[in-house]
Amino acid sequence: MYYPYQPTRQFTPQVNFQPYQQPMLYNQPQYNNQVTIPQISGRIVNNIAEVTANEVPMDGNQSLFPLTDKSCIYAKSWGADGTIKTTKYILEVPEGESEDSKDGLYEMVSKRLDQFETLLTNKNNSKTRKEVTEDVQSK
């Protein structure tokens, strides 16, 4: 039977599809065995004023900016009010590794060397005196 208003184009569901390429994979999460290592953003700076807002991530993490002279580290992060919060970590040398203790060690070694030198000098002097005495006696 002929239907005059029948659309000439038949429904062919495969007509616009690409060749079969495992379509299920597109929506599946891809897992890999690589371990993501957390990274710290930031860089070494001469002056904290040279850090721009672009260098502070808006992902909630801090950026760290150590000074060139290693005297302190600045941490910058965005605050909840839209401002950049800066925290300063100042260098603290652990006890026992300070310059003072090195000076004390140097002083101690120097003192011991002085004592050793004095001991040697005294020994030489006494030997010299003995030799002189022997010389005098032989004459």
Binding site: D59, G60, A80, D81, G82
Partner: protein, 68 residues
């Protein structure tokens, strides 16, 4: 009634990057609460931090989102 902005904010809130970010959570809450004054204050602070005027930032944002 369907509100597209509610849908968008709900989608943003479900983003894991946003969920991990306390600042983004705060900003999103301001948007969801409709706190215009607080939003303007945050926007002005961000503009000041980046060294741009609010007008310039608005222009750039419109250009980015292709808004006339």
């Amino acid at each position: 009634m369907f509100n597209p902005s509610n849908l968008i904010s709900a989608l943003i809130a479900k983003n894991p990057n946003v969920q991990r970010n306390p600042q983004a959570q705060e900003y999103l809450q301001v948007i969801q609460n409709g706190d215009n004054r607080r939003g303007e204050q945050i926007a002005n602070n961000i503009c000041r931090a980046y060294g741009v005027s609010p007008d310039k930032a608005l222009q750039d944002a419109k250009a980015f989102f292709h808004i006339q």
